[in-house]
Amino acid sequence: MTLSDRQPESIPPESMEQPAKRTWFEMMRALKRSGRWIKWGALVLLLLLALLGPTYLSVFELTLAFMLFNYMTLAQSWNLLGGYGGQFSLGHSLFVGAGSYTVAVLLLHTGMPLYLTLLVSGGVASGLAAIAALLLMRLREVYFTIGSLGLSVAALTWMINWSYTGASSGLSLPPTAALDYTALYYLSLALLVLTMVCIVLLVRSPFGLRLMAIRDDEEAAAELGVYSLPVKLTTFTISAFFVGVAGGLIVLNNLSIEPNSAFSLNWVVTMIIMTVIGGIATSTGPLIGAVVVFTLQQALQGYQSWSTLLTGVLLILIIRLAPGGIWNMLINGFQRLIEISLKLRPANQQSTSQREEDTVENIV
């Protein structure tokens, strides 16, 4: 009798009994084995849900999602420089403002197609970042932080006085710039996906390793032949590019712009809060942080002070008790759960599974 002949007879009863016998332990073991598949599955599912967004979301919800996606992009871009690169920038508001103003000025004064202006806004932000990097990247740690803050505030005070961009009263976009909500939604989603893919690939590439080596020990990295300036400069420009485009999208949604809000310190403040709360130097953390901060903001919309107070307290608690952020907390908790359940494998359970194997062998 061949094996193939016997299988149909022996397997069905086995598979019938298996679900009943499946224990917590086995589930955990299976989970541990298939962690990768779960991750990809969840990612694809979320992407599908996001792509189908306009079919089941109301206009109001689409606008909320648009804002959330932009927050995620901003947080992730800051995370590239501040988290993976260890360059604690307080100057990223500059790139939001630069991106916004580029789109506004181009749409007002040239006939450039709208989508191209978004690309240019990223380019302008990158260009500014390259200049800023050349000026400031020599500086270490807090000196860089203070310098970036100074640069961003200097830019704000310049914009308040620059009559070409309407000085402190700002500009209003032409009516042709008004996109419908679905288009804005998809643009922000596309930007988010692009940002995520670029940053995740970048961080996992040799370039990313160099970047993190510089963050961890600049001298040691230099000894190994990693020059910090080009790496930091590139990282800064890439980070600024996405922030710039996000700034452009934000102005397309607002349809008007003025310097105090476009260059507001609140932008960089929010980026840092979201990244730190979610998990600094992780690829998923900033997204989770963005969801947490955004939800808090929306839930307490009428009580803006309270939501800021709560985020402040959350920030201190996270940095004090769980420096890895919410994402690392979840991951560690989950791994702990699996490990504990694997260790807790009861003695009788072991014997039953032993017996099971015996019987299977007997049958075969």
Partner: protein
Amino acid sequence: MFFYHLIDGFFLGGLYVTIAVGLTLVFGVMKMVNLAQGEFLIGAAYLAYTVTTHVNLDPLLSLIIVVPIMFVIGYAVQRVILNPLIKRGQETLLVATFGLALIAETAFALVFGNNTLALNAPYTLTGITIFGDTVRTIYVIAFVAAVLMVVGMYLILTRLRFGKAVRAAAEDPAAAASVGIDVPLVYGVIFGVAAVLSAVGGTLIGLSYGFGPTSGPEWLLRSFVVIVLGGMGSLWGALLGGILIGVIEEVTASIVGAQFRDLIVFAFLVLILIIRPQGLFGKKVSVAK
């Protein structure tokens, strides 16, 4: 005319010294940048405001009540929140002090509302004539306070036993701890003292300018310019830096226009960082290759 702006700037610089001394002290001892410095200043101004509305005291005399409170707040913040984070590096401290700033700013808005407040005293609107130029009395007071604060801190740090402990802890915390110096205590006291110095600066801000819940970052930036120019962590640097910034701001503003005041100051900040990151009196700053 130019000479008058010079004198104006000189005394305005005195005010800048008083707001920056606390920041430079904290950086000098703990290598920590306190992003909540602005909120310490404004918080002290709010405290002085509360005291003067309840008790009929001159705002500067109200410091007798404000100073101990600020010391306790500063000491507690350092011991409870910041000390355990020091070993995790500067970024963590930046985030923590930044969170504190956020909380404080919101708390001010919740308790005192969003209006701009000011401290009132008979000398806020008067002037003193110095070399034919009329200087606001409050700036002269600030200048005297600035010199007293810097000289006083210098004497404490060099003449007292406690000052020696502080300098040892600043130089090498591990070695200081091994000879029996209670480093966490030193850090706590220094942050408390910095809060006290900021209380003076904050009260002077309240007397000379208005203040609201969101005024903090503005003054934080001014303090940064002062201590970066003077050299971060240097007391004398803060004194000289403050005066220089005051003069530069007044004189250039008189040439290019008052609306560019902030632009001049912040562009100057970036300029110093590019040209001479260690400032006038700072230790050499390591830069990337």
